[in-house]
Symmetry: C2
Subunit: 651 residues, 2 copies
């Protein structure tokens, strides 16, 4: 059994909802980010990323500017462009990207090394600070871009660059006497080399991933060795000197992966690492690594995942904290971490065919990932809280990382281009195309053609997900194809119904997928009905931040209260356990979106003018009826600054 990555040329998204997001990425986000990379956006923090490449290529004189990982923003933009070109050819954009690729190639050193920070700023310090300096991380992103651009355009220029880069890295790292026994401080190259292996079938790349993964956390510790060797210099100081070297759990390098029991450290690093490990485990049939994936996935999802698909409960280290510690207001939940979670889930799905991975992937996509970008495509969240009280943010340091509205760009700009590349490559997440079955993970409207043996199964998914309950799957293959379709039955749906050519079928349901095997032909049609009553969700009783509270979900969407609809002091609102819900389509910003209303209560202050001096008097409030309006959480903060909260007191 093997997996065939869907060819995104043959997978056209026409979803009324996410299709618009893709359009937004094409029309707004990609041009906007191109401007940002070239420092043409007045109100945004400077990027300098393209200029760095020009300086490294010798085309311009100047100083490197930006983060040590500034190159990766260019790589992610190129990847977004690559996937976007699959959806819609755009010669002008392709020309721009080709020029960037020429520039990247020109910035590559003769030996294959490619990194503008070190080339321009510290040429003598190559590979001396793996723990802190993101060289392999940047390489990983460029490799991903090279693979994507090859897949998206058929052009090999960047693929050749990154193969040369990967070959160089392969020569530098390994068990050999003259090689570095190191591995990245920020994992990323593992998942990238696996993609490069997929495309090139060059076994050295897979072997190198295995080396990086298995060397990780070995003693004596590589981070300490290189730290001593370079004279104890340190690149990052925000938590004290060399903290990134010392706090090895931050990089998931405190112990070998086989010994790790919990999702720990920097959340993005964790899911990036595990994405590569899961890919490697499947392709190398490595049961031990598969167990590592299952164990760490379970810890993360069962004990450290937010209802929004967010991970990373704390700002310090942008990291996981501990089991069942899920603060709503001080949470980090970086947009990139939820993107990485989707990537990890995708690789788990390819290994396991268990819908729980798709459930989490969908939750991350429709909530935190979409929420990371404003509806205008020009403003972004890095941090995605579940509760915000804007008036307080500036005055209490526990909220230093929280912004009440999306920002135009960031000094550390990892998230915006990451959102762009994941939204343009949705096709990779919709299906898992295995030789034995085509798994449909997400009900995003699209038409696709997937190879089945020597044939091709063509199909079309349509509907108005996630707003409406019916999804239609039409087979459009001109010739008959014998194959199995595996339809995901979402965890949020209590009573899914499958109708095939007008007849209800139960199918063969295993691990959350309904398997339908048949000789498919044009005209075959499946109607999947996924009833979407408003669900009341309750926290795991171990999670103290959710005790006594309820959250609403409809379909895959988590809902929230916003000040714009419900007034300030949202904490004084409560929802009776027996309130009925009204769902209706919103207006303006919320047109084509479903909102929810319910009758609730508000605690009102009695006689404000005579409010007692001492603030803790006997019940200075009275409970009055108030209609509560809930909006899809991903769309919050599109109407200016205001309070927001997901978890509401249930009374």
């Amino acid at each position: 059994m093997s997996i065939m990555e869907p060819d995104l040329h043959k997978l056209k998204i026409n979803d009324p909802f996410l299709g618009q997001y893709q359009q937004l990425v094409r029309n707004v986000v990609i041009p906007y980010q191109w401007d940002a990379l070239n420092d043409r956006i007045a109100e945004a923090e400077p990027s300098h990323a393209i200029t760095n490449f020009r300086i490294a290529a010798g085309l311009e004189h100047g100083e490197f500017y930006g983060m040590v990982f500034q190159d990766s923003d260019v790589a992610k933009w190129l990847e977004a462009v690559a996937w976007s070109l699959c959806q819609k050819p755009d010669p002008e954009l392709e020309k721009t990207a080709d020029d960037v690729i020429d520039l990247v190639a020109a910035a590559q050193c003769d030996d294959g090394y490619l990194n503008t920070y070190f080339t321009v700023k510290a040429p003598g310090e190559r590979w001396t600070n793996l723990a802190e300096c993101h060289e392999l991380y940047c390489a990983g992103h460029m490799i991903e871009a090279g693979v994507a651009y090859f897949q998206g355009t058929g052009k090999r220029a960047l693929l050749d660059v990154v193969c040369k880069l990967a070959d160089h890295i392969d020569s530098v790292f390994g068990a050999g006497e003259n090689q570095l026994h190191g591995y990245p401080g920020h994992p990323e190259i593992e998942l990238a080399l696996m993609r490069l292996y997929d495309v090139t079938q060059e076994s050295r790349y897979l072997t190198l991933v295995k080396y990086f993964v298995e060397e990780r956390g070995a003693q004596p510790h590589f981070y300490d060795i290189e730290y001593e060797k370079r004279g104890k210099t340190s690149h990052w100081h925000n938590y004290g000197p060399a903290w990134m070297v010392k706090d090895k759990a931050y990089s998931q390098a405190h112990q070998p992966l086989t010994e790790q029991q919990t999702a720990i450290g920097h959340a993005v690093r964790f899911v990036y690492l595990m994405t590569g490990v899961a890919h490697l485990a499947r392709l190398s049939n490595d049961e031990s690594k598969r167990q590592d994936c299952l164990r760490l996935w379970n810890n993360m999802v069962q004990r450290q995942l937010y209802i929004t698909g967010g991970i990373g409960s704390q700002s310090s280290g942008e990291a996981f904290s501990s089991d069942y510690d899920l603060p709503n207001d001080t949470v980090y939940a970086e947009s990139c971490a939820s993107i990485g979670l989707m990537m990890f889930a995708r690789r788990m799905l390819e290994m396991e065919a268990d819908s729980q991975y798709a459930d989490v992937m969908e939750r991350a996509l429709y909530n935190t990932v979409l929420g990371g970008m404003a509806l205008d495509g020009k403003h972004f969240f890095y941090v995605n809280p579940l509760e915000v009280h804007p008036k307080t943010l500036a005055f209490n340091h526990i909220y230093d990382h929280v912004k009440p509205v999306r920002q135009r760009w960031f000094g550390c700009a990892c998230c915006p281009p990451n959102i762009a590349r994941v939204l343009t490559s949705l096709g990779h997440y919709i299906y898992t195309a295995r030789t034995d079955a085509l798994f449909i993970n997400l009900y995003v409207g699209n038409s696709a053609a997937v190879p089945v043996g020597d044939n091709e199964l063509q199909l079309r998914i349509s509907g108005n997900y996630p707003w409406q309950e019916q999804v239609k799957i039409d087979i459009t293959s001109p010739v008959k194809v014998e194959h199995t379709l595996a339809l995901r039955l979402p965890d949020w749906c209590a009573d899914p119904q499958v109708v095939l050519n007008g007849e209800a079928v139960t199918g063969d349901v295993r691990q959350g997928y309904c398997y339908l095997t048949r000789c498919w032909q044009e005209g075959d049609s499946i109607t999947l009905t996924l009833p979407m009553p408003v669900r009341r969700l309750y926290g795991n009783p171990q999670v103290r931040q959710q005790a006594g509270k309820v959250a609403l979900q409809r379909g895959p969407l988590v809902y929230c209260l916003e000040e714009a609809d419900n007034g300030a002091a949202l904490h004084n609102l409560s929802l009776p356990a027996d309130s009925a819900f009204r769902v209706f389509e919103g207006k303006g910003l919320f047109s084509h979106k479903i909102l929810i209303q319910a009758e609730g209560f508000v605690q009102r202050v009695l006689k404000v003018e005579s409010q007692p001096l001492w603030q803790y008097d006997r019940a200075p409030t009275t409970r009055e009826a108030q209609t509560l309006t809930f909006i899809p959480w991903f769309s919050w903060a599109n109407r200016g600054e205001g309070e927001m909260r997901i978890w509401v007191d249930e009374v």
Copy 2:
């Protein structure tokens, strides 16, 4: 109308409850802290404070060690000893203290300067870094000790030292051309000089306080001027270079006091400053400064005070945050801040004769201040949270400052000796002895003699406060004395009853005091009955961290749930709005203490073994009856590590 500070020799505490605390301070805390100051406690962080004085005095060679304000620990210990000697003579202890005073005198420079850090470590840098280096703060504490030791023992040695020190400071600071136009980064000397003025009637000291207060926040800013002058060196780096210079609100120096609208910055600094300002405002009849005190007191108490009498909502800067932002678990609420709050309240009482100040003073004393020390007198809290979940603390940086159990000593050891000196000088808080009336603020058992004109009013307060409702006040003067007694009617008491010689009286009640004027004589007896039903307290509706929750208070004591009585996961407990309370005396650690029980609920997990993978399932719990046991919050964490919470969901 003037105030006479009670002579603590004539004020003997014999309270069954706080008397034991005083005994603990005498028998355990003072000797223990003496050992600590001399580095004889193995498990505690080193102090080196006495050695610093020996080195400064030239009696020993060595290096200064410790905080720049290490001297103040010795001063606070001396002050605690002084007050303790009033209560119970102890020749051996007095000899030890006299030796310390000789040592302090020997460490004083010829010109009056006294500070071991600068004398030993940086003699050329005297008065070059007021913003950061605590010279005036240390001077203030030593002045307080000098005043106290004089009042407590009649000995002038330390008083002479500190007068010489104050005179030196008076020569260095002021409006003169060759004087420094500066003021302390950490206020303290203001309140100390006011006490020195009380004792010496030297008007220069009062004038100097006025200078320090009025110069504060003036432009161009003194902190900037001295920063430039010393070549931009900085002593503290924890929040970035020279942050203490830059963040002037931290020291309440961002603007003149008259312009400040909110309690802001480092909480201890704020209340220390305001203690001095209130004292100055009264003695100089300065209506503008009185208004400053009223305005800032009101902001603090109405919008930034915890139910426990704690202040300082955040660990960053040990500081206030903003109006109505009162997190229970990430709060700082330093023990010293509540001691400073008592001091500020005392000075407000002397100015205003309004019981609201005594209400806050009592709340701080019986909750946070007592809670700052373990029942064994050997362990201390620096930070006093209202909710603790120990398992989480080590893994989420928002809890970095929180300890689940009291510690033996601290590298920054301001709190333990501060608790000792306030508990030994309780007499200063019990009464406000004005010429027109004797105000009884606290119902601590004691016998006292207070001058009234040429006579003396002798009285005895007895009872078993705060556990029992009846307080008896017996007049014991052998001769008749015409005077007014003003009995505080606590804010927590809905229905206080006053019986004078067997007859109910209503008295003349103004601003929370019941005034009784009479020619008092031996045998006169007042019985004050303060009914102590368990009260349910509710947060101000602006405070989101208390929404939907209730806290219990009986008398002045705030209660809490602890894991030891109620099991783990306290967040799953709730208290019905109509539950009845049982009060009863506890056992063991809680003997002589009143505990509270009520029938409540616990959310129990249904079928733990089959708990769903996905943590947010539909109501995975059931609500079962459970008896809730509440203990006085000040006595929490005396049974090892466990969860604690004050605010409980009300259902």
